[in-house]
């Protein structure tokens, strides 16, 4: 059996804020961590919705950003399916099917990933454009970073995914 000299790295960009795509990202992130990999998740654009805190309102500055964060509130518990949302009915049914099949929710997956040492980083440009202050996110999200940081991580990684 081959010895692994140092921890292999796995980097995921989560661009999408859809429930189904976030699920795929977190399944892979937690499994990679359980396999001893060093996992970094980089959240950008709609993907930032996944790590927004669930409670309270998000205080963005300016009329357009305020509106955006009302219409696009986000939070792990508010994510929708990429297909068959059907005004929330499809998402409700999928969440029920997941629960009945013993699949953890995205909220549970995020907590699990954090406990397993998965690093979560938000994209600084997206945060700026979308008007997201630091307190828009749940606890345990590391500092914001940019494209150069992601590329450095990706370059050192054995696997990189864009979801």
């Amino acid at each position: 059996m081959a010895d692994i000299p140092e921890k292999e790295k796995f980097t995921i960009v989560l661009f999408s804020g859809d429930l189904d795509k976030a699920l795929a990202a977190f399944i892979l992130a937690t499994t990679a961590a359980s396999m001893g990999m060093d996992v970094t998740m980089f959240f950008t654009f709609w993907g930032l919705n996944v790590i927004k805190r669930n409670e309270g309102s998000i205080q963005a500055k300016g009329f357009m950003r305020k509106m955006l964060n009302v219409l696009n509130r986000g939070g792990a518990k508010r994510l929708k399916l990429s297909r068959f949302n059907m005004l929330g009915l499809g998402t409700w049914m999928m969440k029920k099917l997941m629960r009945d099949s013993n699949v953890p929710s995205i909220d549970e997956f995020i907590k699990m990933a954090q406990e397993m040492g998965v690093k979560m980083i938000s994209c600084s440009t997206s945060c700026g454009v979308l008007g997201l202050p630091d307190n828009a996110f749940r606890s345990g999200i590391l500092d914001q970073a940019g494209a150069a940081f992601f590329l450095k991580e990706a370059r050192e990684s054995k696997i990189t995914l864009f979801i």
């Binding site: 059996m1 081959a2 010895d3 692994i4 399944i27 937690t30 499994t31 359980s34 396999m35 001893g36 990999m37 099949s101 013993n102 699949v103 953890p104 699990m112 397993m116």
Partner: protein, 77 residues
């Protein structure tokens, strides 16, 4: 097959049996064997892959109906 510890993952789906195995294996001593009881068919491919990635040994499997018992020996910390 005889095991030192058992982990019940009945009804759990991928990736939970693997994640629970990884957590449980931390409690075992080197050389000890863990029995994982799963109903997730993917475990037949997943556990050998997990063992290969982590340097542990997948000793074998026993199938009875929908239940799959997988035996893993801890090779290193």
């Amino acid at each position: 097959m005889k095991a030192d510890e058992s982990l019940d993952c009945y009804g759990l789906r991928c990736p939970m049996p693997i994640i629970k195995t990884a957590q449980k294996m931390k409690q075992l001593k080197v050389g000890q064997v863990l029995e994982v009881i799963s109903t997730d068919k993917g475990i037949k491919q997943d556990m050998p892959a997990w063992c290969k990635a982590t340097g542990n040994e997948c000793l074998g499997m026993e199938e009875a109906g929908e239940e799959i018992k997988v035996y893993v020996r801890k090779i290193k910390e």
